[in-house]
């Protein structure tokens, strides 16, 4: 039973859309930025997206990546620091397309990024129209501070799983913690179950 915080009450009276804001979150109309280090700036001519650990590695240059089938999606995103942003619009390539180019049996991936960031995800969470590598936000090229040139977009998990500056996936037989997971954040990160930290 939580103690009552004397005199505290709801200030925001407008009801948030039912069923769209996970517990412990609030809706923001801004787009806050959170990252652990300087923003990397990778030239598109140096950029590749790779999938390692399958039967044979695959890699796309920026130009090849742009030629892959595109999808435009509108999704709600939820950051573990408690903001949620509704109806965000992205363009990118479905992970169904990308993983479809590889032959593999591994059940997990570790996403890797410019700047050294990593995050772990089950492959099942990347398939079935649930995840993308996005390079456009709200009709424009994705700004570097938001993860451009391209970031993962896995909106059904807390947004730290949607790794900025993503450069590829390493298929893995076991689930190993990525960057924030090593520092005590949850291995899976379901916002609807409030899986913020290890043990939640």
């Amino acid at each position: 039973m939580s103690p009552i915080s004397r005199g505290f009450h709801r200030r925001h009276q407008e009801a948030e859309p039912a069923g769209r804001v996970p517990p412990g979150q609030y809706v923001t109309h801004d787009f806050p930025v959170l990252s652990a280090g300087p923003t990397p700036h990778t030239r598109l001519t140096d950029w590749t997206f790779s999938i390692e650990g399958g039967q044979s590695p695959v890699s796309w240059s920026w130009q090849e990546f742009q030629a892959l089938p595109q999808e435009t999606v509108t999704v709600d995103i939820h950051c573990v620091t408690r903001w949620s942003k509704l109806d965000t619009s992205w363009k990118g390539v479905s992970l169904d397309v990308l993983l479809g180019a590889v032959s593999y049996t591994a059940p997990y991936v570790l996403a890797f990024c410019d700047g050294g960031y990593t995050t772990n995800l089950p492959v099942a969470d990347l398939l079935g129209g649930k995840a993308w590598v996005a390079y456009s936000y709200d009709g424009s090229a994705l700004p570097a501070e938001h993860g451009g040139p391209a970031r993962l977009l896995v909106p059904h998990l807390y947004f730290w799983k949607s790794a900025k500056w993503v450069r590829g996936l390493r298929l893995r037989d076991t689930d190993v913690p990525g960057f924030w997971e090593t520092y005590g954040y949850h291995m899976y990160g379901d916002p609807w179950k409030e899986q913020r930290y290890a043990g939640d």
Partner: protein
């Protein structure tokens, strides 16, 4: 970006407000009585949960303002359209209770052990000074002689948090202000937003192997971090913590 595992379940515990200090007209430090606190590292944060008498709850994260071993304190800036910060800066009184869990985070931390014994550059924008203040207090408590420069960007002198504490820094600590909007008469210090020239003047030379911690609004952090990288700081030696929106997009 390798880390040391810090795992284990974080449970909510009841905190009682033990002391209240007004830092500026819109910023207040709350010292908390937390009997079950397991300790923290300088730079970590915590979550708080407020509960109204109708059961309504709101959660937020705050940087810890106190050094390891000191009573846990948070410093809160009032955001006028906020829900939690107006309560914590205006309504809360000594003896009031809410819930806390933590500590959280293990990357933006400074322990002051042997591997950290290099010059420290701290750069704060506005209330981004809070976790850096925990590092400064920790440095004093452990008797570290690591040289420190704190660059503190703030709109005016009236908005300087921890003003009296920062006006008499410990030996080896230098505090450099840039007052970006309003300067007192006779001000000879910086009076502009941070830029590469300022960073080149303030930052420790790369050759001294410095470590940088940068905390503040996104635009401030982006500017400082990219200037440091341009000056030759290896990106992994520049640790950042950002808050707030970018405006675009």
């Amino acid at each position: 970006m390798e880390g040391t595992a810090v795992r284990g379940r974080l449970t909510w515990q009841t905190a009682t407000v033990g002391a209240v200090t007004d830092e500026t007209s819109s910023v207040r430090t709350l010292s908390l009585v937390l009997p079950g606190w397991a300790g923290h590292r300088a730079g970590q944060h915590l979550d708080i949960r407020l509960t109204g008498d109708d059961g309504y709850q709101a959660e937020r994260s705050y940087s810890i303002a106190s050094a390891p071993g000191e009573p846990v304190a948070i410093t809160v800036e009032r955001l006028d359209d906020g829900e939690v910060s107006p309560y914590l800066t205006e309504d809360v009184q000594i003896g009031d209770e809410f819930e806390v869990r933590g500590p959280i985070g293990g990357y933006f931390v400074w322990d002051g052990d042997a591997s950290d014994s290099v010059p420290l550059l701290l750069a704060a924008g506005g209330s981004g000074v809070v976790p850096l203040r925990a590092m400064l207090r920790h440095r004093s408590r452990i008797g570290s002689s690591v040289p420190v420069r704190l660059l503190y960007s703030v709109r005016s002198q009236a908005e300087v948090i921890y003003r009296s504490e920062l006006s008499s820094p410990a030996d080896g600590v230098e505090v450099i202000y840039t007052l970006t909007r309003k300067q007192p008469p006779g001000w000879t210090g910086y009076a502009r937003r941070v830029d590469q020239k300022m960073m080149a003047e303030v930052a420790w030379p790369v050759a001294s192997g410095p470590l940088a911690y940068v905390c503040g609004p996104t635009n401030f952090v982006e500017a400082v971090a990219s200037d440091l990288v341009a000056l030759g700081y290896p990106p992994q030696r520049v640790k950042t913590e950002r808050f707030g929106a970018t405006g675009t997009p």
